[in-house]
């Protein structure tokens, strides 16, 4: 079973040199820690920055320089600032190569729910609906089941939808899945996890073709 950092690390393997990437809050943020050697990616923060750097040292903290999670950050050589409309403009125009975000539920047709739980105080969708509707390639990082032990990979989302048919790939603590016309296609198992366990914990259509390799963890 993968821990959060291992999920992030596995997603980082999807990065290609020259990619512009938007990382959501939570596990997706951790992806930045595992960018493979020799690969140069530029992080986009939708509040108006390309080329997001690491957190600042104590004496470098600048309240005017934050990321979309409202954390203090730094720039890198080659960074650029812009306004929120251009930021979502470049996202809508498909210039961001990859978006990684968390989810409460994903359906086997790629629908995603990640912004609202009925009965709970609504905080708002922020940029999530723009990102999911616009990004060319969306990878979801999430736990396979919720706290009640119920699958989050479903036939149909039960929570309010964030976007329809948009998720391309999912990495959970149990495995890696492509979203295909036939449902969730299992690509890799986490170390020590059986196909059987994944089947049991996946409510949506699951496609298992041939031997499913166990993921290499380094």
């Amino acid at each position: 079973m993968l821990d959060k950092n291992q999920i992030a690390k596995r997603i980082a393997k999807e990065l290609k040199d020259g990619y512009y990437v938007n990382l959501g809050i939570g596990i997706p943020t951790l992806v930045a820690n595992y960018i493979p050697e020799g690969i140069s990616v530029t992080l986009q923060s939708e509040n108006g920055l390309l080329g997001m750097g690491p957190f600042p040292k104590e004496n470098e903290v600048d309240p005017d320089l934050i990321n979309a999670g409202k954390q203090t950050i730094t720039t890198l050589p080659g960074s650029a600032f812009f306004d929120s409309a251009l930021s979502f403009g470049m996202i809508r125009a498909g210039k961001v190569n990859l978006t990684v975000l968390g989810a409460m539920e994903v359906a086997d047709n790629g629908d995603i729910a990640n912004w609202k739980i009925p009965g709970k105080m609504v905080k708002g969708m922020g940029g999530a609906m723009d990102l999911v509707a616009s990004a060319k390639n969306i990878i979801v990082a999430m736990q396979h089941v919720n706290k009640a032990g119920e699958s989050k990979l479903l036939k149909k989302c039960t929570l309010p939808i964030t976007g329809l048919g948009v998720v391309k790939k999912i990495v959970t603590e149990l495995g890696v899945f492509d979203v295909t016309d036939d449902g969730f296609k299992l690509l890799e198992r986490a170390p020590g996890i059986s196909v059987e366990e994944i089947k049991n914990k996946t409510e949506g259509r699951l496609v298992v073709e041939g031997e499913i390799p166990e993921m290499a963890i380094d």
């Binding site: 005017d64 320089l65 999670g69």
Partner: protein, 230 residues
């Protein structure tokens, strides 16, 4: 041509009960602290605030919420505010949640004289309810209307007396879009300079969009999530 007013009090003096306002900033970053303080002092009521966020309990728009000055928030994310939640649940406060890019683009549309824009954000979600959709090249978009606002209040880093503005880092965010969107636009700046001191090539908001400008004071610039590396 001199658009300078003395201070925030003078800048906001004609903001009336029931006005629709745009307020720049993302989280607490780049918010018009001086104008918010002046609005709290003035006690203007029943305001509709178009702002990406609603501040926190004791800072930003949260200060106006405490004084029950806000009738309606139009935002993308209103997470960290207990008083907000209380007023919302009690029915005292209305909230309209809008995807962040849609919010930004609807402000920009006003400044570009475009009555409406198309965006895929929210298609198939509750945001799309009652809205017109249209398919272009096989993809579905929502028709979203430009915002009308009586006043836009923005915070810039530097400005000149003609109203030209330059923002700093990610404190830019919604500010230039809202600066373009107000019938009356009020800018508070950290540094107010004479015309000619700013490089015309570096202006983010041309002065034509700005009606009043003043040098703000005592910026707190509170940080929501101070995160440091060792």
């Amino acid at each position: 041509m001199n658009k300078v007013v003395k201070n925030a009090e003078e800048a906001i003096k004609d903001i009336f009960d029931g006005a629709v306002m745009m307020l720049g900033g993302f989280g607490l970053c780049g918010i018009p602290e001086n104008c918010i303080a002046a609005l709290v002092k003035k006690g203007t009521k029943n305001l509709t605030c178009i702002s990406n966020n609603a501040g926190v309990d004791d800072f930003g728009i949260g200060l106006m919420l405490q004084q029950h000055q806000v009738k309606k928030m139009i935002s993308s994310y209103v997470g960290e505010n207990a008083e907000f939640e209380r007023q919302l649940l009690s029915g005292e406060l209305e909230v309209e949640l809008i995807p962040q890019g849609t919010l930004a683009t609807r402000c920009m549309a006003t400044g570009y004289g475009m009555p409406a824009i198309f965006t895929p954000a929210g298609v198939g979600t509750e945001v799309a309810e009652g809205k017109e959709t249209r398919v272009f090249n096989g993809k579905t978009y929502l028709l979203e209307y430009a915002f009308e606002a009586d006043f836009a209040i923005v915070k810039a880093w530097k400005g000149d007396t003609h109203g030209n503005l330059i923002y700093k880092a990610t404190a830019r965010n919604f500010n230039p879009l809202m600066a373009m969107g107000g019938k009356i636009t009020i800018a508070e700046v950290e540094e107010l300079v004479e015309p000619g001191k700013l490089d015309p090539n570096e202006i983010h908001t041309p002065g034509i969009y700005v009606h009043r400008i003043f040098k703000g004071t005592n910026y707190e610039k509170r940080i929501e999530q101070k995160t440091v590396s060792k």
